[in-house]
Symmetry: C2
Subunit: 404 residues, 2 copies
């Protein structure tokens, strides 16, 4: 078992990474809205993007840039998604990459761009370009905290994490930051696109193809298994940089496994943090599906249940509503036999039939801020886990009032 | 063009149909909860059921019964879905069919059963069987109004309609009643199952296979295109009876077309009424997708947009939120080129780019109780229409408080 040690520092925990987060005035609130991550060494990179057919300009730019051999910087703004902004939006996204490269004195090809915020509003590009000059002077080894703040939109909590792992060749570190909150139902793949943003850094030395494979696999058991509202964003993306500054190369199959475990851990922690901080959410929902016919069916059931509006509302109301769980299971179309359902360790269904005597206990368990629903389909050997949150008045409030 | 004339009377408008609706005490509210539709003549029948893998007991019973050559009665209760009720639930559903047959002195094979309400609660079967004896004495040519009331759950409005159509051989009538409200995202097919219930009667004479084809086609442009909450029920079904009492046989292709038009009209009117009366809804949303690559893509986009939680919340907030429309279009995965989007005749996007100058006007149009969003994908020649409603505080309230 790999020993994963949590450490401080987010994206700047790995060696030779610097970051910063500042206010440039994109948000009316005057909260931080521009973040920069910089690697002193050219880094191998991997990226996954939302599969939404509408993609924001920065996604298109980063899909081009990721083809280049090395990446050294990620520039990210919040407050404006630069989506549905036409040709001007593309110009603005390219201008952000160019300005970042110039300010940091690195090749233009070495910059990734990401944006999150309102769709369909022109970018205040002058403010941003000016901000890029300022932020490139402010990056530091301690800047991860500010950077993680600067990518937040309706997020209530800042999301960052870092770990160290001892491999055969020595210790490496992995750091990450993410934002989520609304329009969260990511389905990301290589060269496709979400408004979940996550940025992962490591000082391990790993080839880009391996990095891509591991990132894709990690996303499939983490980011791609969360839903706040079933709405897929036009801006979702996860970028990962490996700058090799630790001097440790990840190559042996044992090291690969250990690195993979650590990366999965980081991505799952970030994904859960995003689900728990869903717009208006008061509870984190974890749905574990066991004994499904195959992996695909397990994933489908877990996602369908975690995404059921009726179940989300029931959780808010502390109602152990078996009907809404079973109807979501059935909606997924998976093979089912003698289903068992537990809510926080209380059995509420056996053979697909309700266990009345346990409902009172189950209802009391729903006062918890973390709800774990375990569904046993009784058919095969496949499992999957998905995360979501409850549906509250605040979700409606936030999204009825959030302006275009 | 077929001349469809709206008439009074719902399911009892066609000749030789009788109906009733009474209170037997399934609902605590003491509102009507048992409905019966009876045809004096044995009728050809057609049915479609939800494709949810979990199906309620009455669905399984009706799937058996519909194989029989003739149907004469439909017994329906509200307040209890008879789902996740195990073997006892199956016994109860069969008992309802048997009791209805005995009380009406018709063959046991001639009765369809439907239920809607709470999932996972045992049926108060004694009350229901007693009620069946009472209701079979009360059926009348004027009973459609009471029957339509008796199938309501969280519905605010009673849904019934009837039309007359002049065919080559003479006039025929079609009547219908339906209920909807929550857990509304029907996907119905022959021998599969939803908690949308709709019952359609006609005094035309049509062979069962044709009736099935026409009902399936009509559902695909009506009931199967509505969403209140994206949650598919375990109890959805639509039953149709054709008793031939008008003496008019629908056989020529011209008559078939006319009958089909009338049936589509009835189903679309019912579907819209259900969407407009979605739980907590204040607005009916109609999404028209034009110039899609094919019918499947048109339908998928229309459904994805009408089902977007974020867009639903924006409509409640009167926000002409293009981003949420486009991200839902993109989520459907359809081919798109130079998208145009109109909200109640105001163009808010051209070439996928927002039209700022029109947003104020669009926002004002959103005060209307009927919102029509037209999306032109600019690719092909296929169209589809879907219906939904806004997401309000009341939806959350109703579903956080509705008990298991």
């Amino acid at each position: 078992m790999v020993k994963i040690k949590k450490i401080r520092g987010g994206v700047t925990a790995p060696q030779e990474f610097q970051a910063a987060g500042i206010t440039v005035g994109i948000k009316k609130s005057k909260k931080k809205d521009l973040a920069l991550i910089f690697s002193a060494f050219p880094a191998q990179a991997a990226a996954i993007f939302t599969i939404n057919k509408f993609v924001a300009a920065p996604i298109l730019v980063s899909q081009e840039q990721i083809k280049n051999p090395f990446i050294q910087a990620i520039i990210v703004n919040s407050g404006n998604a630069n989506c549905a902004t036409g040709i001007n939006g593309m110009d603005d996204a390219w201008a952000m990459a160019r300005a970042t490269a110039e300010a940091l004195d690195i090749p233009r090809e070495a910059v990734l761009v990401a944006s999150t915020g309102v769709i369909g509003t022109p970018m205040p590009i002058k403010k941003i370009l000016k901000g890029i000059n300022v932020i490139s002077q402010q990056i530091s080894r301690k800047g991860s905290y500010d950077a993680a703040q600067a990518i937040m939109t309706t997020d209530k909590t800042k999301k960052e994490i870092a770990v160290s792992v001892r491999l055969e060749g020595g210790e490496i570190k992995i750091g990450a930051m993410a934002k989520g909150s609304g329009m969260i139902y990511p389905q990301m793949d290589q060269f496709s696109h979400a408004t979940l943003l996550a940025f992962i850094t490591t000082d391990a030395n790993i080839e880009s193809p391996s990095l891509n494979d591991m990132l894709k696999d990690a996303a499939d058991v983490s980011f791609n298994m969360i839903s706040v509202d079933g709405c897929m964003s036009t801006n979702d993306c996860v970028f990962m940089l490996a700058n090799g500054a630790s001097g440790v190369t990840v190559k042996s199959s044992k090291d690969m496994e250990m690195f993979k475990d650590a990366l999965n851990f980081i991505c799952i922690e970030m994904a859960k943090a995003i689900a728990a901080d869903g717009e208006g959410a008061t509870k984190l929902l974890e749905v574990r599906v066991n004994r499904a016919n195959d992996n695909c069916q397990a994933r489908k059931v877990a996602r369908e249940v975690s995404n059921s509006m009726l179940l989300k509302a029931a959780l808010f109301g502390k109602d152990p509503n078996l009907g809404r769980i079973l109807s979501a299971v059935g909606q997924a179309g998976a093979e089912v036999d003698c289903t068992e359902v537990h809510i926080n360790d209380v059995k509420i269904a056996k053979n697909g039939t309700i266990q009345y005597k346990n409902l009172g206990k189950a209802s009391r368990k729903l006062s918890s801020s973390e709800i774990i629903i375990v569904i046993d389909l009784g058919i095969g050997f496949s499992s999957a886990v998905a995360w979501g949150c409850d549906l509250t008045y605040d979700y409606v409030k936030i999204n009825a009032k959030y302006r275009t």
